[in-house]
Symmetry: C2
Subunit: 206 residues, 2 copies
């Protein structure tokens, strides 16, 4: 039930994000979405054309900014000259962390992202690859420069493992429960710190 001062499109996107995170793409119906957004059922097809298109827009809205921030952070690290592994990892992870702390639904979106990984949906995978594949390539290049002793294949295996761990950690799927007295923000910041430390050691492994 989003505040009514947002536009119809924005309210639909916000409600869809939340419900896709909770019930999955097939599990959340347009009737649930439009009810939560306080808009008419037909509004989804009017503004987005179809449920599939709505799903893509849910991704585009967040990923455009997320990946721009990642590239900006990476450029900043590279400009510094003597980048280290932790800095490059932070350039990738920190924007996801900040997104997950966003008050307007970002924490739902990181869970939607984890859903997307689990979906082997061909259309969705192509959409993500077409629109954001270049970001992964940029980071792979930065890691390759920092880890010259690793073969290309070895490097890709490790980056694969890192992205899996990142996705799960950000989506809060694990057994770790936030302790009372620790704010959501602090909890996620610690997750990012642990993740960076762990991933850096894993990437450096002999």
């Amino acid at each position: 039930m989003l505040a009514p001062h947002f536009s119809t499109k924005e309210r639909i996107l916000g409600a869809a994000e939340d419900l896709f995170a909770r019930h999955g793409f097939a599990g959340a119906s347009l009737r649930q979405v439009t009810a939560a957004a306080n808009v008419n059922l037909a509004a989804v097809n009017y503004h987005f054309g179809s449920k599939e298109n709505l799903i893509e827009e849910v991704f585009r809205r967040r990923l455009d900014e997320l990946n721009a921030r990642r590239l900006a952070a990476l450029a900043e690290v590279n400009a510094g000259g003597d980048a280290d592994l932790e800095q490059v990892l932070a350039a990738f992870i920190r924007p996801a962390l900040e997104l997950s702390l966003d008050k307007t639904g970002g924490s739902a979106f990181v869970r939607v992202l984890a859903r997307a990984y689990a979906e082997h949906n061909e259309r969705l995978r192509r959409f993500l690859s077409d629109n954001y594949g270049h970001v992964l390539k940029e980071f792979a290049g930065a890691f390759a420069r920092l880890l010259p002793h690793l073969g290309k294949e070895e490097l890709y295996w490790r980056l694969d493992i890192v992205s899996g761990a990142l996705t799960y950690a950000m989506a809060d799927f694990g057994v770790i429960k936030r302790k009372s007295g620790v704010s959501e923000q602090t909890h996620r910041e610690r997750a990012a710190e642990h993740l960076i430390r762990f991933a850096a050691a894993g990437l450096r492994a002999a």
Copy 2:
């Protein structure tokens, strides 16, 4: 379309496993499942009672054996006396690897497992925790003994990261595509090796 010499129940479980892996629990219908299994639509409710119960049975069938193997492997490692980190990790990961190489649907099941992580379904989480939580406790204890310098909280963070990386790596979600000329079996065995090396280094990090 499973061979007809399996029982109705077995064919339903096999088809459900495959379709749940491909389309998710909400996305795969009982009509798809029963058609793939070559059984009557009503057979699911006759043999399992409901779709929810069918989902639980899909998990139970594999996890009973998977976790028994994990505990057996861990016991063997502990019996050796001077267990190291890689051995304990292998005791956890190798049974999952072997399952993923199983010819009768195991590779579908590891993807179903990844779906389960993405689901925040309360019933499913309680079912998994009630039935298999003790296995995770056993392994956490083994890791704690091997990493005495880590605080309890630090250790749990790292195990959380390991389990996320494992789930994704086994489910084959990453960007790594199997090269032609490398068999499915070899591909997955390499994944397990990389995972163990990476995780060991991450767990040992200062």
